[in-house]
């Protein structure tokens, strides 16, 4: 991986971000509803007061001018002030981001740790009972809507069995001083094992709900590519060498079979961002996804724009990471 390629990628990011900004800007403006009216609610205000509010938010200017003002500020790292919080948007997002990163990471880990072994097992036991159950399971996993599956989990584990909490990220009793802002890590770094378990119990259900479609898809991809790879001559040759079955499957077959899995995993990680909005809302998870949903309802333009830009950057970077992983697994490809 050369520095030139890295810079090339970053330059490619520019048109993507410009396009995304424009689309979000236009869509937010076209959405019915007026932020000023929403803020006023049913309070009594004079037209002069309303005009003043509109002027304060910069909404009295023509839309084209607003777009370029936004772009000009965004380049300098200023994404404006949140209408609702009256604080810089970047500050509000930064507060909510760690919760979302933590949830996504756990969902990703859960998905990878379950889908790959299940996919391999389904492939080497092709057409067995296990394979059939896994096939039906993955079909369900892809097709169950996240909000519905999340509520089912909540009803079972939180409402009926009282095993896990209903919502939130950690109990009130477990306040800890942040270090990385990822609670699962901070609690351990602070030596608060009780708080770690508390945070863990909060994250399990949302992480499973968020990771479920990804688990299902990655399992199918792993199974399919594993079946393909197991037919290859190099697997027969590895067997002819008298290697252990474990080595043939995991070292010879899986390393090749993972190549498509990794590409799909990176793309699906991007889709976790979208899933976050639903899952965070269902589980009352104080992350960026829920903030964006709330902001859309409040027509909080600056925050939505900044958040979507952030999503776009993350998405492009994830694809970049996928490319790097691809070269690690597949020595025939050089970036």
């Amino acid at each position: 991986m050369s520095l030139g390629k890295l810079i090339e990628r970053l330059i490619q990011l520019i048109p993507v971000l410009l396009g995304v900004s424009l689309i979000v800007f236009v869509m937010m403006t076209l959405t019915p509803g007026d932020p000023v009216q929403i803020m006023i609610g049913d309070q009594a205000v004079t037209p002069e007061q309303e005009a003043a509010m509109r002027r304060d938010l910069g909404l009295d200017r023509p839309i084209v001018e607003r777009f370029f003002v936004f772009l000009g500020n965004a380049v300098t790292g200023d994404f404006g002030t949140s209408f609702y919080h009256k604080r810089p948007v970047s500050e509000v997002i930064a507060e909510r981001l760690p919760a979302t990163i933590e949830l996504s990471l756990v969902a990703l880990i859960v998905a990878l740790l379950t889908s790959i072994p299940l996919g391999v097992l389904a492939a080497i036991r092709k057409n067995s009972i296990f394979d059939r159950i896994a096939t039906v399971g993955s079909l369900l996993g892809v097709s169950l809507p996240g909000f519905w599956f999340g509520i089912l989990l909540l009803m079972l584990f939180a409402v009926h069995l009282h095993l896990l909490p209903v919502s939130g990220r950690i109990g009130y009793s477990a306040e800890i001083e942040p270090i990385t802002h990822l609670l699962l890590i901070d609690t351990l770094l602070r030596g608060r094992f009780d708080a770690f378990l508390d945070a863990l119990s909060h994250i399990i259900l949302p992480a499973i709900t968020l990771g479920l479609p990804m688990t299902a898809i990655l399992m199918r991809v792993t199974r399919t590519s594993m079946l393909e790879v197991l037919r290859q001559d190099y697997v027969t040759f590895a067997e002819a060498k008298g290697l252990s079955r474990r080595r043939v499957i995991f070292r010879h077959a899986l390393k090749n079979a993972l190549i498509p899995t990794v590409s799909v995993a990176a793309i699906e990680t991007g889709s976790l961002l979208g899933g976050n909005m639903i899952v965070e809302t269902v589980f009352g998870w104080p992350g960026l996804g829920r903030l964006v949903v709330e902001s859309i309802f409040l027509r909080n333009y600056p925050l939505v724009q900044a958040a979507v830009l952030f999503y776009a950057i993350t998405y492009v970077l994830l694809n970049f990471v996928a490319d790097i992983l691809y070269t690690v697994l597949n020595p025939r490809v050089k970036l």
Partner: protein
């Protein structure tokens, strides 16, 4: 000591498919003596590869061995457990495949692919991690040098795609020979190579055979290769052995009409101007074969008696063929 290294008797390997049971190998006997090179010829689908995949215990589902004995070095391989069989594969019997490009794992370095065979089988390796790795490395370099790969030391870190076709073939041979097997099964070692490289690879196998004193089974459909490199030859047709014997006899005075047909269909410069005579007709479908000579439908010399089961008949000592005409006056 005079017992053959490998002795396969009455081997049957079948594939249960939706269309019916395919009997890919039907009552095949093979004998490989110590130090000799046996050529196995036959067209695609004649059962030559499946026969030796059966010997290696590498027949894939839906195929399975349905009967017969495979005695290797005094042990019946069919009675071994999967673990015991793994110890035989790669150590006592090694195999090379037709195309090294697909047989070498694209995602692993050449060094790892040689080293893992030694790791799996070599009991003389030191037990401490560091010394073990150093020994494996040394042996790997030695094997690559043996098959003529220059600057082997640095090439261990490279991947198969970084080598030429001929070199890949040599690497595959190096892997197969790493544990000094008693028997090498070379399945069409030259089909994927161009002619000049073909000769080099065959020379290499013949050379190493002499050096290590191992036996070689050379599966091919090139009769020229057989003439030049083998001691004995076995001709297969539709899952059966139809002729076998010393190369000079089988090629010089073939007894089975199929072998004659094969030899007649080779283009020769000396016979320029004459038409090549192909064998008319098709290989029979291996599902539900009638109990008669398998070559019946294509044979120009067929008689009514050929409509019954034909067994191998000896033409001269050590040379036999599955044809009623053997031993009788030639028509």
């Amino acid at each position: 000591m005079n017992a053959p290294l490998l002795s396969v008797t009455d081997l049957r390997t079948v594939f249960d498919t939706r269309a019916g049971r395919v009997c890919a190998v039907d009552g095949v006997n093979v004998e490989v003596r110590r130090g000799e090179c046996l050529g196995v010829v036959g067209e695609s689908g004649s059962g030559k590869s499946v026969t030796f995949a059966s010997v290696m215990g590498l027949v894939r589902s839906p195929g399975r061995i349905d009967g017969g004995a495979i005695i290797f070095d005094g042990r019946d391989l069919r009675t071994l457990t999967p673990q015991q069989m793994r110890k035989v594969r790669g150590r006592d019997i090694a195999m090379t495949m037709q195309d090294a490009l697909t047989a070498l794992n694209p995602a692993l370095t050449v060094g790892e692919q040689i080293g893992e065979v030694l790791e799996a089988h070599d009991e003389t390796l030191p037990s401490s991690r560091g010394a073990r790795n150093a020994a494996i490395r040394e042996r790997s370099v030695e094997m690559l040098s043996l098959v003529g790969i220059p600057s082997a030391e640095s090439r261990l870190r490279q991947y198969p795609h970084e080598f030429s076709g001929g070199m890949r073939q040599r690497i595959m041979i190096a892997i197969a020979l790493a544990c000094r097997p008693k028997l090498l099964i070379a399945d069409e070692p030259t089909t994927a190579l161009d002619v000049t490289i073909q000769a080099q690879v065959l020379e290499l196998i013949t050379d190493i055979r002499a050096k290590l004193g191992m036996s070689v089974v050379l599966i091919t459909h090139d009769l020229g290769v057989v003439t030049e490199h083998c001691d004995r030859v076995m001709v297969m047709y539709a899952g059966q052995v139809v002729e076998e014997g010393p190369v000079r006899e089988v090629i010089g005075s073939p007894s089975h009409p199929y072998t004659k047909g094969l030899l007649g269909s080779i283009p020769r410069l000396a016979l320029r101007g004459q038409k090549i005579k192909p064998i008319e007709g098709q290989v029979p479908d291996l599902i539900d074969l009638p109990a008669q000579c398998r070559f019946y439908s294509r044979c120009t010399l067929r008689q009514d008696v050929c409509k019954s089961l034909i067994s191998m008949r000896e033409a001269t000592p050590g040379h036999s063929a599955r044809c009623v005409l053997v031993g009788k006056d030639r028509p």
